[in-house]
């Protein structure tokens, strides 16, 4: 009987803990690992190691920006891929609605439509981003990466930065 009670108690406690974790990670902040090299050198600069084994960077993702969908130039955001909703990508915001942006390696300048943004990876050599699928709707944004939290030697803020000369004044 005691064992059963104990089991029931544990189940109840873990259920509550799960609810709270889920709520916090949905509404306020969560932590996610970064895979791949598309944001090199901001994330995963060189295979960092911890206690001898290689680890990916982990970042803190804040969700407060989702309330008003306020993102600014140079922010690193997490968004659902427009091609496959199950995947999430992390990229840097280059242009916001109303901006005119010059596309790399071509002379085209395009205007970002309302409610969309232009995202690009920091590593222009290997990344799947707006250059292949165009501007993405802001509704796909899932959060903003603010800090690197793991591995310990890489802990720090994620800087906002903008590549020079991409936006055209109009």
């Amino acid at each position: 009987m005691g064992a059963l009670n104990f089991l029931w108690d544990t189940a109840k406690k873990s259920f509550t803990a799960g609810l709270i974790t889920l709520t916090v990670s949905d509404r306020y902040a969560s932590i996610a690992p970064i895979r791949g090299l598309s944001m090199h050198p901001t994330f995963n600069p060189n295979k960092s190691t911890f206690m001898g084994s290689p680890v990916d960077d982990r970042v803190l993702i804040e969700k407060f920006c989702l309330e008003k969908y306020k993102v600014s130039h140079g922010d690193v955001i997490v968004f659902r891929s427009p091609i496959n909703y199950k995947e999430k990508h992390i990229k840097r915001v280059i242009a916001l609605p109303g901006d005119w942006i010059q596309i790399l390696n071509s002379y085209d300048t395009i205007r970002i439509p309302d409610g969309h943004c232009w995202v690009e990876g920091d590593n222009s050599a290997s990344t799947l981003d707006s250059r292949s699928f165009g501007p993405i709707p802001l509704g796909l944004v899932q959060g903003r990466a603010t800090h690197i939290v793991w591995p310990p030697q890489r802990v720090g803020k994620v800087e906002q930065k903008m590549p020079e000369g991409r936006l055209r004044p109009y």
């Binding site: 709520t23 949905d26 008003k68 409610g115 509704g139």
Partner: protein, 171 residues
Amino acid sequence: MNALRNLFKGKGIEIAKEAFDRTILVGKFLCFLHVTNNYICSPTLVFGPSMLPTLSITGDLVLTEKISTRLGKVNNGDIVLVRSPENPKKILTKRILGMEGDKVTYLIDPHNSEKCRTITVPKGHIWIQGDNIYASMDSRQFGPVPYGLVQGKVFWRIWPISGFGSLGEEV
């Protein structure tokens, strides 16, 4: 005097403890509400002319479920809530008329002409359209939308009472 103080002290702690317990309980309840609303099902008030005659113009209270959206089980003919691609703060209620790879034919300007256009819905996107093609802002204006914008599937009407029941697919 001392005894009285002790009594108060004891009471104070008790009250604080009770208040703390209550707050925790409310917090847990709110978390539970958030999870049910976001992962299982939630009531939504929808209004506007774009889904006439299925949903009325003055506002219907409907239940939306989030499970099939997450599992990728929504299909042609389902009514879905979609975050507007043009304004992420707005949520639209539309019917899915094409999944990825489907060919969709639509009237470009139903008011004035019978001109049609056929397009293929690209990978990972869906084609959404209102039931009232004369007054609806939908894929005909902004094109196919990414599946990731779908917020839930409308499956049951609660209010008005006369329309209480399931909102199945009817194409």
